[in-house]
Symmetry: C2
Subunit: 260 residues, 2 copies
């Protein structure tokens, strides 16, 4: 029965589908979150910025307690066919949530904190995975150069596995950022750098990761205080950008947070 | 002109397209490699197992020297339209290469060598990235449980960035493997394990990585000698499987290969 009822207007479908495009997401200040696990984490989080929930009956029943915390006009019952129309996924889940962009916070840079600076990271899976890894290592702010993939891209959100709403993503000029904070040590992953396992990390700092194909841009390289490299034993020419970020964050955390 | 000529038979197109399916790849013992960089690395490698090359004129001219080393009946000139018909990629490159599965080698397990054991890894991007990371850290053999994603899946090959032909991938029962090599230390990544930064690694051993959603299977857990975990400072629930593998390989290599 439910599957024949029209529960969502054509205008709503059009509006939601428009958010699949970066341009409209930015204009509206809204983006889409899908995947049961991520949505539940979002519902459980106190400041979740939820604009609206579109969910099939099964989801609404299963998460009635969590949904109760939202004002009722934000929650829309839809059927599976409608969900397929608005979803970005090949096999749509049980719900789709629209979320407001987090209000731009003034980030106060602290000497004792770690920050990741991403220079021209293009692959959404890489950015999402880096956000998830940052969240694991307690890094709560990532600075992205303006030519990075846009952080509300659905594939980014998917790959963060729920970490996207715990990590601030700020689009800035990385060179301006570094120049404005000369007291902060800037580490950068470059092939000609010092063996990271011999590098002594400060408690906090900037860690710059370059693009998948070109590494850190020449301009930015001149601003790096400590060039570091992950030494290789084998024959691979390079590491994936999210893998390199994780290995460097691990070594940094080992020295600073987990020293015996 | 070239684009209107038929350079490849319908039967050939059908045959190549059949290799997009796992079943046919296994039956034929052949798989597809795409991407200019990977193909060139393959052409440059001495034992490349190439069955045939299908390339547009631009590629054949550019890599004439490398292609000369193959017997001429292996190299087929095609046009771009034909390439699009046989390619797996959304934006097909300049060539597609068909490669024989490597002959199954008898792997002789050595106490001083590191091995990665993958239990039910389903995501092709994860498997490919793990192969690339293994190659970086000089790990030349990965054992996969039979329920892992198949290693000649095009998305696996793509993510390895050329490392797939330097790393042996063997499908085996992981529990049999561990039981048959009791003198080898088996490390396993589990949430309740010991902080990896406090773990003392032997020079060689087995490193078991569990599935993206369920971790290491209960049966296999009982066979692990040293349970290890990557400690967290932040709030992410888990790490991506390829990220966890990389962090553990890095720490292992740091202790064994890069100690000061």
């Amino acid at each position: 029965m439910l599957n024949n009822q029209v529960l969502i207007s054509k205008a709503q479908i059009k509006f939601i589908r428009s958010l699949h495009d970066k341009k409209h997401r930015i204009e509206e200040g809204l983006f889409i979150v899908e995947g049961e696990k991520i949505i539940v984490e979002l519902l459980n989080s106190p400041n979740n910025n939820i604009h609206s929930v579109f969910a099939v009956n099964e989801f609404i029943v299963r998460y009635a307690n969590q949904l109760k915390r939202l004002s009722s006009e934000k929650v829309h019952l839809i059927n599976e066919k409608e969900l397929a129309q608005i979803s970005n996924l090949q096999s749509p889940n049980l719900a789709l949530v629209i979320v407001h962009f987090a209000a731009t916070k003034a980030i106060e840079i602290q000497t004792v904190k770690k920050y990741i600076l991403l220079d021209n990271i293009k692959d959404p899976g890489n950015l999402g995975t880096i956000i998830r890894t940052a969240d694991w290592y307690g890094i709560d702010t990532i600075f992205c150069s303006p030519d990075c993939v846009e952080s509300t891209n659905p594939k980014v959100i998917q790959a963060t596995m729920g970490s996207f709403f715990r990590v601030n993503i700020c689009e800035v000029s990385l060179s301006d950022l570094i120049e404005q904070h000369k007291s902060i040590t800037t580490y950068g992953a470059v092939l000609e750098g010092e063996n990271v396992y011999n590098t002594e990390f400060n408690e906090g700092g900037f860690l710059v990761i370059g693009s998948e194909s070109h590494g850190i841009s020449e301009e930015l390289k001149t601003l790096i205080d400590k060039k570091i490299r992950i030494p290789s034993i084998g024959k691979a020419e390079s590491l994936n950008a999210s893998i390199a970020t994780a290995i460097l964050c691990s070594e940094w955390a080992r020295q600073v947070n987990f020293k015996i």
